[in-house]
């Protein structure tokens, strides 16, 4: 089953949206959620997920803390900050803009 790559520049958007919808998740859960919600089309590589999460930590869009999973295992959970929510709005509108522009170009063929 070949999964498509995540288009560059959209990883942050996906992560932010997922956290906005689901509250607090740890790394694996974020990847799984994206995969599921996209009906297995998008696959997040760990190699890009964790660096992206770190970048978002630097910028202050997410906050991380250690907690326990349902199975009582220690894991690091991430949640959105207020700045993160604002960033989500920015990225969403930007994405919409770009997408409709591309759609227009393709459709007028």
């Amino acid at each position: 089953m070949r999964r498509d790559e995540i288009p560059p520049g959209t990883l942050h958007l996906l992560i932010l949206k997922t956290l906005a919808r689901r509250g607090e998740l740890h790394g694996y859960e974020i990847a799984r959620t994206i995969q599921q919600n996209s009906e297995d089309v998008l696959q997040v590589e760990e190699g890009s997920l964790y660096p992206a999460l770190q970048r978002m930590l630097v910028k202050g869009w997410v906050k991380a803390y250690w907690g326990t999973t349902a199975e009582n295992r220690r894991a690091r959970f991430y949640r959105l900050t207020t700045a993160g929510r604002k960033q989500l709005q920015v990225e969403e509108s930007q994405f919409e803009r770009v997408m409709s522009a591309i759609t227009r170009v393709i459709q007028t063929a």
């Binding site: 740890h26 694996y28 690091r76």
Partner: protein
């Protein structure tokens, strides 16, 4: 605010690296387990799930690194890593490290020393706040040095001042003042300034006030300002000194102000004035002669220098109409920015030294680059491994550059330390007339320069080996245990570099040899007099106490009489300016004919006031006529003695004896003598101004017959050990006048060699640099040859096994060294021929392309290069074929 938060987070991360790594690992672990479980649930058996999960996960270490990189500190951590590694590598190779650091220390240290001089002379801002706007106002077209302005000219210019100048002021050195301190007379260097001079410079007194306009007029009150140093040394930094009276030159002066530290004369060279008096300038002057004063000014806003020149030039034409003999027909006012003027006075010689020392550093860099190249050839394996692990091209280059910069900084530290230690010695060599010579020092600016130079040096010599080393053939280097692959190409490069070192050394050595030769020739120039066993010192009679010509004449009569009576003194005489100790010339006219040469230039000659025994004291032979005698005094006919050059030049084919000259006639009434003088004798030429100038053209008049006899140098010919007689001399003079101090006590030999101080400085400095260059280049050649021989041990072993004799091996080594040396010498000779042209003005008696010098230096270099091959050659000759063949 956002950025501040971000910055805070980044910094926190930096401090908690280890915790980050641990947490990252733990996070990865969980993720991995969950992936594994996912696979198992999808139906894979346990072990396959394990591997699949891990394969999917990727390289954990790389992941952790990538995550960490997001925080942006990787550059710093890499740098610290590189530094640690560099230091470790340097410690493991003490031989290389020591050689490289030493070589670099020599180069950087020498450059730092010279830079401190350059900085003080050319670069440091002048201590006047308005220095940028200050101009020296001079005249062009005048044969006597247009910088010298007289009060008459200044008065004329002052009338134009308001239209173009913000300030126009005068400055002039005065004779040392005699200050009475606790009853003892002390001579203090003094200067006169017009009342608005300080305002022009932007400096304000730290105590008291500036001069007022009325103090700058003739007959104004006697006021004086003290320098900071004088205030501290002689007045105990007394805050109430303003308003106190002092006795200067037997008159009472009131202190009106104290000047800030660092304020000095606009020439910025010794003797630094400590007392400042207002110049009393008449509103108009009938003395248009060269006044020896400097005129400085700042322009009004928006006025250009050319406009100012246009405004001032008409005054010169007017003055010429009034005093035609004193001014040339096309004199113009000329403004030069003060900074430029100072740079000119400092001379290009200092810049030459900077060039020379830069070459030394260049050789040092090439040397260390060579050594680095050799080492990098042995490190190819290491580079290959780094590459294989995943280091990028730029990372490897960065690491190698870090190593070379560390090396250079170490060298720089050592160099600065040596500089510090030897600084006092270096400063004693610098000629005193270089501006700011009292302020040379290793300060923050110089240290910064040394640091920047070290970094630049490190990058310069490290770049080539770094770029070469990072381009590595992976499989080839990992397979081979020898370094044959890169060696050949690198070997040629190293050979070229070594030949380059020799070329640069040759240029430097030729320059040094030429300068040394010039100096040597100068020391044997015959000055025309005998300077052995002659004591000299100076006495300046203060005009207040010795206000008539008769009083002064009496003083010198008695002084000479008492001095001649000292046992051990053969002759005692006086002269206004010692030979080779200064300039003093004057215009004259020849009675009955002309006052100008056919070319229109006024007649001029050196002018000396002497006592009758002067010629005998210095053993200057009389050629015709008679010498001056005590009978030539104020009541007898005025006489003069000239020298052979004057006789030849101004009375060609005639006998000058009996002719009359009128001294100073063309210079206006106050400079002119009252009557013409008769020539009574002709003496042999002596060198008056400098050993490099042509001798002669001097007139000598008796001190008893002139009013200008206030400041004279005594010349005592003794049987032996002139300096031992100083106490007896003081006693003798005490009997005449106990309040007159003796100054400038030195032997005539010291005066003569003092006139060569500049030449000695350049010869010494260039000699040292040349020797350094030679030393470093020799090490370079040695390094290249010995390394190449080590590479070829295998080959030599084979040759010996096939029957080569020791002599053949020797020839092999020597021929390689000779080829290097010859190439370097050839290129060096070509370069030197082109470059020594630039120093022609600093040479004496030897052409910049003197063939003997070139040949001599070439031979010296060849010998040194061959000697440098000696040790590797011996090693090569001792190669045992068996071990060599086994060696790889």
């Amino acid at each position: 605010m956002k950025l501040l938060g971000e910055l805070g987070r980044r910094v926190t991360m930096l401090l908690r690296r280890r915790k980050f790594d641990q947490e990252m690992d733990e996070e990865m672990r969980i993720h991995l387990e969950l992936r594994e479980r996912e696979r198992r649930e999808a139906g894979l058996p346990a072990d396959q799930a394990y591997t699949a999960a891990r394969k999917n996960f990727g390289n954990a270490l790389a992941l952790r690194e990538a995550s960490h990189d997001s925080w942006g500190w990787s550059w710093l951590e890499h740098l610290i890593q590189d530094l640690r590694f560099a230091l470790r590598m340097l410690r493991k190779n003490p031989g290389f490290t020591a050689t490289a650091v030493l070589t670099l220390a020599l180069g950087i240290g020498a450059n730092t020393a010279i830079f401190s001089i350059i900085d003080a002379v050319f670069l440091r801002p002048l201590p006047y706040p308005n220095a940028q706007q200050m101009y020296l106002v001079a005249r062009t077209g005048n044969a006597y040095g247009g910088e010298s302005i007289s009060p008459a000219i200044f008065a004329a210019w002052r009338k134009q001042q308001s239209s173009v100048f913000e300030h126009l002021a005068l400055f002039g050195f005065m004779d040392d003042s005699t200050l009475m301190v606790s009853g003892e007379p002390v001579r203090i260097p003094s200067a006169g300034i017009s009342w608005d001079f300080l305002a022009m410079t932007g400096i304000h007194p730290i105590l008291g006030r500036d001069f007022r306009p009325e103090e700058g007029q003739i007959g104004g009150p006697n006021v004086v300002m003290l320098s900071d140093r004088l205030w501290r040394e002689r007045f105990g930094a007394d805050l109430n000194v303003v308003g106190q009276n002092l006795t200067l030159n037997s008159k009472s002066y009131t202190v009106v102000g104290v000047l800030p530290r660092g304020f000095t004369d606009p020439t910025f060279s010794p003797p630094y004035s400590q007392l400042w008096l207002p110049l009393q300038i008449p509103a108009a002057s009938n003395n248009p002669g060269n006044g020896g004063l400097l005129c400085l000014g700042t322009l009004k806003h928006g006025v250009s220098a050319t406009q100012a020149e246009e405004a001032l030039t008409p005054s010169l034409s007017e003055l010429r109409r009034e005093f035609p003999k004193m001014f040339m027909s096309n004199e113009r006012a000329h403004l030069v920015p003060l900074r430029e003027m100072l740079n000119e006075w400092a001379g290009t010689a200092v810049l030459l030294l900077f060039g020379a020392v830069g070459l030394v550093l260049l050789i040092a860099c090439v040397n260390v680059a060579n050594l680095s190249l050799a080492r990098s050839a042995t490190r190819q394996r290491e580079m290959a491994v780094r590459s294989a692990i995943g280091a990028s091209h730029s990372r490897i280059v960065r690491q190698l550059l870090t190593e070379s910069v560390v090396l250079a900084v170490l060298g720089g530290l050592l160099g600065v330390a040596v500089c510090y230690a030897s600084f006092r010695f270096v400063v004693t060599l610098v000629p005193a007339n270089v501006p700011h010579v009292g302020t040379f020092g290793i300060d923050a600016r110089v240290l910064f320069f040394a640091f920047a130079l070290s970094i630049a040096t490190g990058v310069a010599f490290g770049l080539i080996p770094a770029l070469g080393a990072s381009r590595v053939d992976l499989t080839g280097s990992l397979k081979e245990s020898t370094t044959q692959a890169g060696a050949r190409g690198a070997g040629r490069l190293r050979g070229i570099l070594a030949a380059g070192e020799i070329a640069i050394s040759l240029v430097l050595l030729v320059g040094a040899a030429l300068t040394l030769e010039s100096f040597a020739r100068l020391t044997v120039v015959q000055p025309g007099f005998d300077s052995r066993n002659v004591l000299t010192f100076r006495i300046s009679l203060p005009s207040e106490k010795y206000d008539t010509q008769a009083k002064r004449t009496l003083f010198f009569d008695q002084a000479i009489h008492h001095l001649a009576a000292i046992s051990g003194v053969e002759q005692a005489a006086i002269v206004s300016i010692l030979p080779l100790a200064g300039e003093g010339d004057i215009l004259f006219s020849i009675e009955g004919e002309r006052s100008a040469a056919p070319s229109g230039e006024p007649l001029a000659a050196n002018f000396r006031i002497i006592s009758p025994d002067y010629f005998r004291a210095l053993r200057i032979p009389l050629m015709r006529g008679r010498e001056l005698t005590p009978a030539d005094n104020a009541s007898s006919a005025p006489v003069v003695v000239i020298d052979q050059t004057m006789a030849r030049k101004f009375w060609p084919g005639q006998d000058p004896i009996g002719q009359r000259v009128w001294i100073g006639k063309a210079m206006g009434p106050s400079m002119s003598e009252p009557a013409p003088r008769e020539i009574v004798g002709i003496v042999a030429d002596i060198r008056e101004s400098a050993l490099t100038d042509a001798p002669g053209q001097t007139m000598f008049i008796p001190y008893a017959q002139t009013k200008w006899n206030d400041s004279e140098s005594f010349v005592l010919r003794e049987r032996a050990a002139p300096l031992m007689s100083v106490p007896a001399v003081r006693d003798a003079l005490h009997q005449v006048d106990p309040t007159e101090p003796l100054t400038e006590i030195e032997t005539m030999n010291q005066v003569v060699s003092g006139s060569l101080k500049d030449w000695r400085f350049h010869a010494t400095m260039l000699g040292i640099f040349g020797a350094l260059a030679l030393f470093i280049a020799a090490i370079g050649v040695y390094g290249v040859i010995s390394y190449s021989i080590a590479q070829r041990t295998h080959e030599i072993g084979i040759r010996v096994a096939l029957g080569a004799q020791r002599v053949d091996v020797l020839r092999l080594v020597i021929s390689q060294g000779a080829r290097l040396a010859l190439a370097g010498i050839a290129v060096g000779v070509l370069a030197a021929i082109g470059l020594t042209r630039l120093m022609a003005s600093l040479l004496y008696g030897v052409a910049p392309t003197d063939p003997l010098t070139f040949v001599g230096v070439a031979i010296l270099l060849a010998i040194v290069a061959l000697l440098a091959c000696y040790i590797p050659a011996r090693r090569a000759m001792r190669v045992d074929p068996m071990t060599a063949l086994r060696h790889e």
